[in-house]
């Protein structure tokens, strides 16, 4: 739990490149907008380690889009339904896809799943650019102010003063040193 809180703060305040953060956000969208947990999610999660994206941001984005999915599932259903049923011309494609081994495990034949996949891919690039701009804006105008404000919070003071945080800080330094040496 503590680790997660730090992660969130760290992601927001990190010096990581805006590109990696933005890609992480867009990648999280690919995961979060598709309901359930299928082989699609497994493959994409492996991809998090393959592509140079910020993992923390990906996870945050995944959680964010998971919540969003609850509200938009009826609309993604419409998209999925149009593609799977209404566009008759695509039926042959879907059928042949359905006959490819492992692919049915993605549950793409579900209207909400397919709608989610399509929507997430459509939003992938816009998400990247929107997040990029937001990060740039944030770093330019708000980061220092926000940092000051956050530091003033009593909770943060307590947390920063706690032994646990100091210990974690020491651990992070050592870890970073080892990483650098490698």
């Amino acid at each position: 739990m503590l680790r997660l809180i730090f992660k969130v703060i760290k992601v927001i305040q990190s010096n990581d490149s805006p590109k990696r953060l933005a890609w992480g956000f867009a990648y999280g969208g690919l995961l979060g907008l598709v309901p359930g947990f299928t082989i699609y999610h497994i493959v994409l999660f492996i991809g998090v380690y393959l592509f140079s994206v910020n993992i923390g941001m990906t996870l945050l984005s995944y959680a964010f889009f998971k919540v969003v999915t609850v509200f938009i599932s009826r609309y993604t259903h419409i998209i999925g339904y149009k593609l799977l049923v209404d566009y008759v011309g695509l039926k042959a494609f879907w059928t042949s896809l359905y006959n490819v081994p492992i692919i049915p495990w993605t549950k793409f034949n579900n209207t909400v799943v397919l709608g989610g996949i399509i929507l997430s891919f459509c939003l992938f690039i816009p998400n990247y650019f929107i997040m990029m701009q937001l990060i740039k804006l944030y770093r330019k105008n708000m980061r220092d102010k926000l940092k000051e404000k956050i530091d003033k919070f009593k909770v943060v003071k307590i947390l920063k003063g706690s032994k646990l945080v100091k210990l974690y800080g020491s651990y992070a330094k050592v870890r970073d040193t080892i990483k650098f040496r490698k």
Binding site: Y49, V85, Y98, I102, N109
Partner: protein
Amino acid sequence: MGHMLRLGTQLNLGNNMKIFNKKILVLFIIVAIIAVIFRLFLLDWIIETGFEIASGKILKTKVSIDGLHLGLTDGRLTFNRLMVLDKKNKSRSLVSLGETETKINLKALLRSQLDIELIKISGVEVGGEFIYKDNQEANEEAMKKNKKPSQLASYYEMDKISDRLNIAEITNLDSLATFKRISEASTNIDRVSAELLRGMGNSDLDDRVNQLSKDWSLLQKNQPKSVTDYADYLKQLDEVKKQLDLVNDKINERKNLVQNSYDKGTQEIIAIKKQSDTDIKTINNKIDLISSKQNNFVSEIIGDRYMAYIDKAKFVFDIIKKLKNKKSDKPSWKEKIFFKGTDIPFQIRDQKPKVLIEKILLSGWWGKKDSSNEFLAVISELTSDQRVRNKTTKLRIKSKEYSSIKRTDIFAEMDNRKDTDIISVNINSLGNPLNRSYWDLAQIPFEIISGNFGVSGNIKMVGNDFTTVLQVNTDKTKFKKDENYNNGNFLHLMLASVFEHNDKFQLTVSMRGDVFAIDSNIDELLGKEYSAFIENKKKEIKEQFQKEFDKQVRLQTASLTDQMNSAKKNLEQQFSEENKKAEAELNKISKELQKVEQAIKAEENKINKQIQSENNKIQDSINQGLKSLFK
């Protein structure tokens, strides 16, 4: 991996590649070693243990499986032995499977379908006697439990049945009024006898007869010599006559006293008989009342059991209905919030349903491992979606050795392809062992049967409605009561009687909508046996009662009658001499008296004639004197 790649971007490419290759290699080697260890030592064990634990929890009994092996390349799953122990009696296995081989279509598995091409199981033992060695203590406990008479068994003990039929009360003779009346009559007869003896003792007949004799002798001695004497004589003669009448009366009085006493005794005996008739009627009424309890008993024996079955069946069908209806239920709040969309089905080339078991071959034994109990079974096209497969599921079980006295042939077909599910089962079986396990379901303590039965009939289920028509045939000539048969158990008695006298049992169960109907001749047969039992019992009680009652009443009445007769005889003997003597004396005196009276009469006539002639003479003299006077 991702981490390594990221490192790769930061450092120069040549070094990176070396580090990358080394690391990858090490990682692959480790993964490979783990995979080999996992495959060789752990996978089968994990599946085996997991299966034992999971199936044990589901079935709530011990399940053991030996020698499981999963072939990852060819999709073969094999094991040597699978055993499910009986929940109630853990000393016996409910189902035991021998060598089993399963062939799974791995290609279909990649398409998210479970296609089991073949399951071949040999050495299936159903209801065998295998004792599980690790469960010795549980076995002993189960054995002890089995020996304890169940509540139901004690309920049907004959003593308790007799109590409920009030047999002890009916056959208890002490409470009957007849015996009180016999006792009263005995006292009364004794009293009458005493009174009679007293009455006889008070009689002064002898004295009177003596006095009469004396008076008569005296009278005879004192014959009248003059007219004045004659007048006295006549007076005395009248006295004797009066005494004669008195003695005569006394004799008659004595006779009447004996007769009256005898009559009183007879009245007492008649009263006993009347009372005994009343008692017999009361007892017979009570015996007849036993029949009125018949319906309750039949209901107790089978009614409750039937109702329990019906309730259980209804419960199961309600669950099935609920499960079926659940599919069409409105979405829950969870489903409304987390909208799950619709799965669109697409045709699959060489389409197969999600789960398909193409063929299951079973061979093994029912009960004892015996060639005559060997069976073969084939289940084909067991699938989760018959519409896709477009084939019905079929089950065929038959005995390996098919004979005219022992065989089993069951054929079942399940058709779910249309909107209404249809299940039909045809059963034709002969020579099945008739043992208590069939009755355990009903918790009837029926452990007395040894014999065989045949069953034929069919079960048809269309949607929620179903009809079952079964006929069970037994061979009553071969029916045997085994060592557990207890003559003192009413239920044993009844059921044994049913099996001894009948060989055809029918059962029809049907459900149309919410109307559940069950019809069988078992209640009728049991009712008939019960009636016969009651009638026999009534006859037995009547006979027993009559015997006891007759014995006691007849004996006591006869003894009283004898007592009375002998008393009468004694009295008559005792007093007949006296009476005869008195009567003889009376007769003698009476005859002499008659003679005397005749003599007196003759004398009177003679005197009267003399007086008359004297009077005539006097009259003539007077007339002559007058004539001469007036002349």
